[in-house]
């Protein structure tokens, strides 16, 4: 599985340049602050399927480097790039930098800056064209001294670091001139072996989907080197006219060496070397260090038992299978007919009666009586059974699922670059945990201690709910170097967290794109993968987040990223989030408090400070004070209501009291009159 993205240049200590050019007059960012593609110089013979340009340094000097464009929806091989940047290996076009770049007139893309080939490729060195399968013809001595030995030394150095090349072929081997040691070309700007012609791949890799070949092992490079030697020795590519499927079947039926060499005349030395290098089983191919001494490699003979041939072929989906590995291949390419053959017991009978391999039949039976199918629906259970059947019949075969074959380590590139139907198949594979079921049938051929935890991790991502889970999470989890594919990035190349915020800022500045939330599953999954546990607290909230809480969750996350990446002010994104968080302001009960808070948030948004905005919105102390005052106000209203109710029901009482009071007053008045009359009468006043 792909490791963590390491795009920092260890030698310069600088991070790759961003492809984000927001201001028209801003300086064009450089890749690793040092390089840029020179689009005026195209190098069609160097990229081998990739767009390839010259490269200039920051002072516009041509230092003999080239820039290879990474295909959209794929990622460069960042692990090997990082390793080779740190410690280059002799005999290969070492990468020196990697990163995004957006030049005038060119769409933003990721580029790998690496050394330019020292000369033409071996395929064209003799002056003969490489079209029509014709190649340069080389002598045995030349092949061994100029191709085999230097390539083996390079592969040995790669193997010591557990790296593979996976793009060895005559047109990707270069030398300064005839008789000079060959140099392995670049193989860094795309998934491993994605552009490799099927003839140069072992049959178990060639039958895989283009992006599903995986990193493989150094033995696969040995195989490709062997085919390259054969092609250069014969001056032509073999089996080019038969078609890939036919070539593959011939390799599976007769073995690669027999299928490729056929009746061609080779020296015994080269023939012995190639017999080992083209062995079907990777364990039987000589290690690179042995190939640096061709004499010793020639003397090494591994007793590989040829596949047992049946008395009669087994027909599956129109394919004629004479041995077990051909049956496994037929099951992979014709899944429906294969499932019928398994269900009807045809394969079991054929194994026992026609092939006569009881051990294999028992192994096949054991794979079919598994509890792994429980819980899967009918069609998926059928495919699970088929995958296990293929693994039982040929443990070297890759994982098959509904007509598509790939190695589990290539799930990431398949998911990133595959068509929608491929993505659907991968989703089914993850949902049914099919790879685990397949791998347990062939434990001797894979490290279950590594594979099973990885598949558990993928499944955990898959079943994670919310924006930071499901297939987008799997996509970025398996492709650390893949740029963010969110529509919210506005077509900008986003490789890093800070770039994601800047892209969102640009989107927020476009009114017609400023709709809904400033996030989608792709963006959040990208952030989850690239945050490297720094924003886990914020991301965990997305798992069980209610829709109405999403704006504040996003604000927390973006504020955290803005702080962590020291991103510049983001006024438009802040305004977007402030508009979405308006209900948080409405939760404050005091009108004056709300007004003050809204004004403060507006000021923070204009300043582009997400952290300040978050602090204002999540002012728990102020909110508690507001709530307490609101409770006091509510209590006061209750008292008023009580008093008003009392006023409304006390009318009769007041009337009675008014009458009594008036009567008392009238009595007092009359008594006063009586007193006055009495005083006048007595004293004559």
């Amino acid at each position: 599985m792909s490791g963590a993205l390491q795009i920092q240049n260890p030698r310069s200590g600088k991070t790759p340049g961003s492809a984000l050019t927001l201001a028209a007059n801003a300086p064009i960012p450089l890749i690793a602050d040092e390089h840029r593609p020179n689009f005026a110089v195209t190098l069609p013979d160097c990229g081998r399927g990739h767009q390839c340009y010259g490269a200039l340094d920051r002072k516009d000097r041509d230092l003999g480097l080239m820039a290879i464009a990474v295909e959209p929806n794929t990622q460069a091989r960042t692990v090997i790039i990082t390793s080779l940047i740190a410690v280059p290996i002799e005999g290969v076009l070492n990468p020196v930098a990697h990163g995004g770049y957006s030049g005038p007139g060119h769409a933003p893309a990721n580029y790998v800056i690496c050394a330019r080939p020292p000369g033409p490729s071996l395929a064209t060195q003799s002056g003969r064209t490489s079209g029509g399968g014709r190649l340069a013809l080389m002598s045995d001595l030349e092949l061994i001294e100029c191709v085999l030995r230097p390539a083996a030394r390079t592969l040995d150095a790669l193997a010591q670091r557990r790296l593979t090349h996976r793009a060895i072929r005559p047109d990707n081997l270069f030398s300064a001139a005839r008789g000079q040691p060959a140099v392995l070309g670049a193989a860094w700007a795309g998934p491993p072996a994605a552009l490799q012609p099927a003839i140069y791949e072992p049959p178990y890799s060639a039958q895989c989907h283009r992006y599903g070949r995986g990193g493989g092992t150094i033995a696969d490079d040995i195989y490709a080197l062997g085919v390259s030697l054969l092609s250069l020795a014969l001056g032509e590519e073999r089996l080019t006219r038969t078609g890939e499927e036919q070539m593959l079947r011939r390799k599976l039926h007769s073995g690669s060496f027999a299928a490729l060499v056929e009746d061609a005349r080779l020296s015994s030395a080269l023939s012995d070397l190639l017999r080992g290098m083209l062995a079907e089983d990777p364990d039987h191919r000589p290690p690179p260090v042995l190939l640096t001494d061709p004499g010793a490699a020639r003397a090494r003979r591994v007793a590989a038992r040829p596949p047992r041939r049946a008395q009669r072929p087994l027909m599956i989906g129109g394919l004629e299978a004479w041995n077990a590995r051909s049956v496994a291949h037929a099951l992979a390419v014709s899944p429906d007919e294969g499932a019928l053959a398994i269900a009807g017991g045809a394969i079991d009978r054929w194994l026992r009666r026609m092939l006569g391999d009881v051990t294999l039949a028992h192994r096949f039976d054991a794979a079919m009586t598994s509890r792994d199918y429980e819980g899967a629906d009918g069609h998926h259970a059928e495919q699970l059974r088929l995958a296990r059947a293929a693994a039982a019949l040929d443990p070297l075969a890759p994982f098959p699922w509904r007509g598509v074959t790939f190695w589990p380590e290539a799930l990431g590139p398949m998911l990133a670059a595959g068509a929608p139907d491929i993505r659907t198949r991968i989703e089914e594979v993850i949902a049914t945990d099919a790879v685990t079921a397949w791998a347990t049938v062939r434990p001797e051929r894979c490290d279950l201690n590594v594979l099973l935890p990885e598949m558990r991790q993928i499944r955990a991502w898959f079943i994670t709910r919310g924006m930071a889970g499901a297939m987008p999470r799997v996509l970025y989890g398996l492709n650390h170097g893949l740029p963010c594919q969110s529509a919210l990035t506005g077509g900008l190349l986003v490789n890093r967290l800070a770039e994601a915020l800047l892209a969102l800022e640009q989107t927020a500045n476009t009114p017609d794109q400023r709709k809904g939330l400033p996030a989608d599953p792709h963006l959040i999954s990208f952030i989850a993968v690239h945050s490297e546990h720094r924003h886990q607290q914020e991301l965990l909230g997305f798992i069980k987040c209610r829709p109405e809480a999403l704006p504040i969750m996003l604000l927390r996350l973006f504020a955290s990223i803005q702080t962590a990446t020291a991103a510049p002010p983001l006024p438009h994104l802040s305004a977007w989030l402030a508009a979405l968080c308006v209900d948080r302001i409405e939760q404050w009960q005091g009108k004056e408090n709300r007004g003050r808070l809204a004004a403060s948030i507006k000021a923070a948004a204009e300043a582009g400070s997400l952290r300040k905005m978050l602090e204002l919105i999540e002012d728990h102390e102020g909110r508690a004070g507001d709530r307490a005052n609101a409770e006091k106000a509510a209590a006061q209203v209750t008292r008023i209501d009580r008093e008003l109710a009392k006023i409304s029901v006390d009318g009769a009482t007041r009337k009675t009291r008014a009458t009594a009071l008036a009567h008392d007053a009238a009595g007092a008045l009359a008594l006063s009159a009586l007193s006055a009359a009495l005083l006048k009468l007595v004293f004559g006043w």
Binding site: A634, V637, I640, I647, A662, A666, A670, A673, L674, L681
Partner: protein, 148 residues
């Protein structure tokens, strides 16, 4: 006018009042006659008044007494006799003045509750309006969700 239920002590009080009136009638029948005639409207009020403390009759009798004090004083100075009482009662102005006093007392007691009630209600209404205003201000200020 609100009626009241009689309490047990009322009987004793009425009996005492009747005995006092009987004794007064026996001692000075002429004065009693004069007072009965002069305070006749007030006495009628006393019989008709159903308020708890007979506030209307009280005001009417007190006002009538204030108006009748001068003729009653003259009657006492001229000598307390039935002839003098009849002579005093022959002066229609004396009777009219006393009855006017009773009427004023009655009218005051009847009208005053209306005025007092209106004053009290006006004050209550002002307070109710102040409270309603304060209530709406609090609800608006603090965004309170209180039904009504």
């Amino acid at each position: 006018m609100k009626t009241t239920s009689r309490r047990p002590s009322d009987g004793i009080r009425i009996a005492a009042q009747c005995l006092t009136a009987g004794a007064l009638l026996a001692a000075t029948p002429s004065l009693v006659l004069l007072l009965i005639v002069l305070l006749a409207p007030g006495l009628i009020c006393l019989l008709a008044d159903r308020t708890p403390i007979r506030g209307i009759a009280r005001a009417s009798l007190l006002a009538g007494a204030a108006a009748s004090l001068a003729p009653a004083w003259r009657f006492c100075l001229n000598g307390i006799s039935l002839d003098h009482a009849i002579a005093a009662l022959e002066n229609i102005r004396t009777i009219a003045f006393s009855w006017l006093g009773c009427s004023i007392g009655w009218l005051t007691a009847e009208l005053a509750p209306i005025g007092v009630y209106l004053v009290i209600e006006a004050r209550i209404e002002r307070r109710r309006q102040r409270l309603a205003l304060l209530r709406s201000q609090l609800i608006e200020e603090w965004n309170l969700k209180i039904p009504g």
